[in-house]
Subunit: 269 residues, 3 copies
Amino acid sequence: MVMPIGNPPVIVLMTDFGLTDTFVGQMKGIMLSITPAAHLIDLTHAISPQNVAQGAFMLGKSLPFFPDGSIFVSVVDPGVGTLRKAIALGTDRHTFLAPDNGLLTAILQTVKIGHCVHITNERYMLSTRSSTFHGRDIFSPAAAHLAAGVTLLELGEEIEPSECTRIALPGSTTPDNGQSWEGSIIYTDHFGNLVTSLDTNHLDQSKPWIVRAGNCKPLLLSSTYGNVGDQQLLAYVGSSGTIEIAVRNGNAAKLLGLQNGERVWMSGV
Amino acid sequence: MVMPIGNPPVIVLMTDFGLTDTFVGQMKGIMLSITPAAHLIDLTHAISPQNVAQGAFMLGKSLPFFPDGSIFVSVVDPGVGTLRKAIALGTDRHTFLAPDNGLLTAILQTVKIGHCVHITNERYMLSTRSSTFHGRDIFSPAAAHLAAGVTLLELGEEIEPSECTRIALPGSTTPDNGQSWEGSIIYTDHFGNLVTSLDTNHLDQSKPWIVRAGNCKPLLLSSTYGNVGDQQLLAYVGSSGTIEIAVRNGNAAKLLGLQNGERVWMSGV
Amino acid sequence: MVMPIGNPPVIVLMTDFGLTDTFVGQMKGIMLSITPAAHLIDLTHAISPQNVAQGAFMLGKSLPFFPDGSIFVSVVDPGVGTLRKAIALGTDRHTFLAPDNGLLTAILQTVKIGHCVHITNERYMLSTRSSTFHGRDIFSPAAAHLAAGVTLLELGEEIEPSECTRIALPGSTTPDNGQSWEGSIIYTDHFGNLVTSLDTNHLDQSKPWIVRAGNCKPLLLSSTYGNVGDQQLLAYVGSSGTIEIAVRNGNAAKLLGLQNGERVWMSGV
């Protein structure tokens, strides 16, 4: 059931390492040392430091947009150097490597897992390893070896997917009497748009919906920025499939002063 | 007259999406899903949010430095989700995809256009499209299909280049009695250098020139940082061919307190 | 003794140019114009503006993680446009291009140099060159031509490595009566960890060591974050092999208020 690696192999990186240091560059150096032909894509390196839940959410939402055969290296790793496992698992489309701290929750919850391993084979790690940078010393070489043809089961001992850590994904929507849903603000994007956890997978968008947040007036769910005037607030279905709150050509986070984690609600009119 | 695509094809990305979210990563995922061999280059993702004029300026100044056959995906798109067109056009060197909002003004004004199309063929878009992220859902797949061999005319209906939106490029120099030129500060770069719109294409650099901005003393046009001492102000011809104002080993924006849009002048001595 | 270029060739970029402008994108455009198959890796573009010493340190620490045959383009260049030379040199693993201002000190001090040249051959530069952006106009085309098969000696006139500028690397550790070492804080990383110059190459980590900085209580050298509780301070051997001071799941720079350049000490217990 495991997808063959792409040709050229694609390795997708998501971390909380930022781009100001040499962390990401060194990871790429290691990967190209092992697999010179690999294509390396940065999903993002701006997960908030140590925010595993945000990383898990963003990784889950991004899967549909990557090629079959992609290998995802995801490192948000507050427990680096402790006994937390390094794991790798395969689905019918992708392969994932991450610390076993919940970062793969969205995959474990929604996709059928093939093999799942505890990465222990030192042959596929750097021979000298730091205690603080397993992204470079363990995950990068393991991913590159997979890209070069090593199989998942060669990376270590097989474990049951049920043994992997799962966490509550940030503000998963909570049905409440079937009439309204409660969620939270997960993060603020580059434009100041407030990305919420209010899922719209089962939303009947032909009906009118109201979104509430903070002291802001109730917002009618719009289909596009064009529905409101310049500098006006609106709620709409964002590009990740959850409700977002924005100011057209403006910055909703600044205007509303809302923080990550604050509650939001959606209900029928 | 249209340039063949390079081998491997090069796709150049310019957006106002920033690098903190997964926007750019998802665009790249889509492109490699369609054209695994493509080389993806980031021109910049730090155009000021919704600043079409700045994007148009920076795109125009960067063309000379990219290979023949490059495909440029430029997305600064305040009108996403409205009726503004998505367009693609070819020149004898490059292909460009962008919202039809003036972002391609520099190309339309200075380069001979071959075919120009309104991107409407859903076959070359994502099947599920958001109303807020056409960079991922329309422009990326269209560019990748071009890189894979689809022709421009297959993307949609041909339109006349004259139908495309043009805007006034930021502070284009204005001759004033033939003795002096007026322009404006377009943006401040990473070093705090003030990049102005004062063009030097026709400037006789063998003669002395004076540059004025804000309350700053008049600056003699220098040929290099080395002409002034450490922490001293200077004006010089920047790497994009327009006048810049800088402090050697310092930050002119901080020192002068000048904002984007403020006027600058150049005149003979 | 010079390493052959990799296949595909890998070019590694380190600059103080940041990612908000089009500087890095233009450099990549030039390189792919000359060598379409090259793999371009960003080591970092966030060296502090004009901080040659920081760049020299970070480059030196990153070498072990890059493939044999890599070409490093390093540009932190306060003297651009002055008489400082542009140089290129080869070792048995890598090739390096940089302004001759000390940026290659770590290589000159620790690795055996093969050929070393003053880059003067205009055939391998852009025909039109600015006086402020040699990263694009001189170093990028030279590196790409090397990647395409041009030899080091074709780039210009050979010089002795001893002619190249060397600088004092930031806070190299200073033995002091054999019992304690003094160093300094070199930079603060994305997590707020304080990276020091205290080298651990010859440290007997089986013995206990104490690290001191600012008004902070003496810290016992730990092997991993897991040795202390949440939000607690610790000192440990960082992933570059020097001592770092961090707060577990927190930000040491904010907590301690220490600046780059401040002194730190390590001694036996």
